[in-house]
Symmetry: C2
Subunit: 213 residues, 2 copies
């Protein structure tokens, strides 16, 4: 059975998944790269660190991604820059159909390396149905940012969530945990702290009552 998975999603101690003031130059606003320094291992060192092993799972067995519009662009409202194709260059690291949630649908953009951006105006449930169709037997990745992750968690659509707590206090930005009181009751969670100082939460949906794993 295919899973809906979240990977490498970092939050500050105060629960912000991104900073304030996103712009073309600063996709994470005032947070800059501080939520993602733990991912900066070299390919060789990645093998020798739990951070790296967890990060690599991002790429395994995924057939489609869903992302919020502000992962794709800093723009709000109607599209004004038709040449913008995201922050990732010609060959984005998704390599699958990638559904961008937006209230302003537009034609898809085909990139190198297998990524095609589809711009859809859809509820989380509708978007997930489309992404599952596109993914076939493979899993669907929930790409972020914080608002859409929160929406998908609130709708109970996520089967596995890898959330990384970075020991910084951002003070402002977009909060991940708001409106999710009691979330822990739906997951079995393992926590591990690594040499980089972060704490990884590995949350897997609890088995349904009466089912065996």
């Amino acid at each position: 059975m295919s899973l809906t998975r979240l990977h490498n999603f970092a939050v500050s101690l105060d629960g912000f998944g991104t900073g304030e003031g996103q712009s073309r130059e600063e996709p994470f606003g005032h947070a800059g790269e501080r939520l993602h320094l733990w991912r900066n291992w070299t390919p060789r060192d990645r093998l020798a660190h739990v951070d790296g092993a967890l990060e690599e799972q991002h790429n395994l067995g995924i057939g489609a991604e869903i992302m919020g519009r502000n992962k794709f662009t800093h723009e709000r409202g109607p599209w004004s820059d038709p040449d913008w194709r995201g922050w990732w260059g010609d060959n984005p690291p998704f390599h699958t159909p990638t559904f961008v949630l937006t209230h302003y649908p537009r034609p898809p953009i085909e990139m190198e390396g297998g990524t095609t951006f589809h711009f859809i105006d859809a509820t989380p449930q509708e978007a997930l149905a489309q992404a599952k169709d596109a993914a076939g037997d493979l899993d669907v990745r929930i790409g972020g940012g914080a608002t859409m992750v929160r929406d998908f968690l609130a709708a109970d659509l996520i089967d596995y969530a890898h959330i990384t707590i970075v020991p910084i206090v951002l003070g402002r930005g977009v909060r991940l945990w708001d409106g999710l009181e009691g979330l822990e009751s739906r997951f079995d969670t393992e926590s591990v702290t690594t040499a980089s100082g972060v704490t990884h939460l590995l949350m897997i949906r609890k088995p349904a009552e009466g089912l065996q794993r």
Copy 2:
């Protein structure tokens, strides 16, 4: 040199240090005991668990405590229950002079075991000066709750902070981290996850520039 120390202060993933709706029956409001289950080791098992070793430091080398009023009582405003002596029975676990911050000063209450509650209307700086006088060569413990810990961190009065992240989403209550953007820059922090699933942050003030440890 004596230190100002915070121990065993637990927060939820969303950063709440206590729940909503404190009452005589529920000192932590709707959070109940969920932030403190990691402390429930038996004396024997405490020896064999990192949780226990960290918790024990609460008692070592402390000469005075400062606590917020709502650690002492659920009451707000003028004192209405003259018989209330806290939630801890005749022999509270402080065993030192204990300064209770309140806008309604009243005469001290002497308990068994060395605890005397002093009720003072003071700024964090003033309270700390009084507590240091009382502590002599020993350290001062910052007792909580969340509001006073936040105030003392904001005023940069805490030298060591042991903060425990419990993997639950409380959704409401009193937030610890608000107003503390950039706090991490003042501390060296070690993180460790334990068998109970919590993550301990051990934060020690960075050495002053130009000083050697």
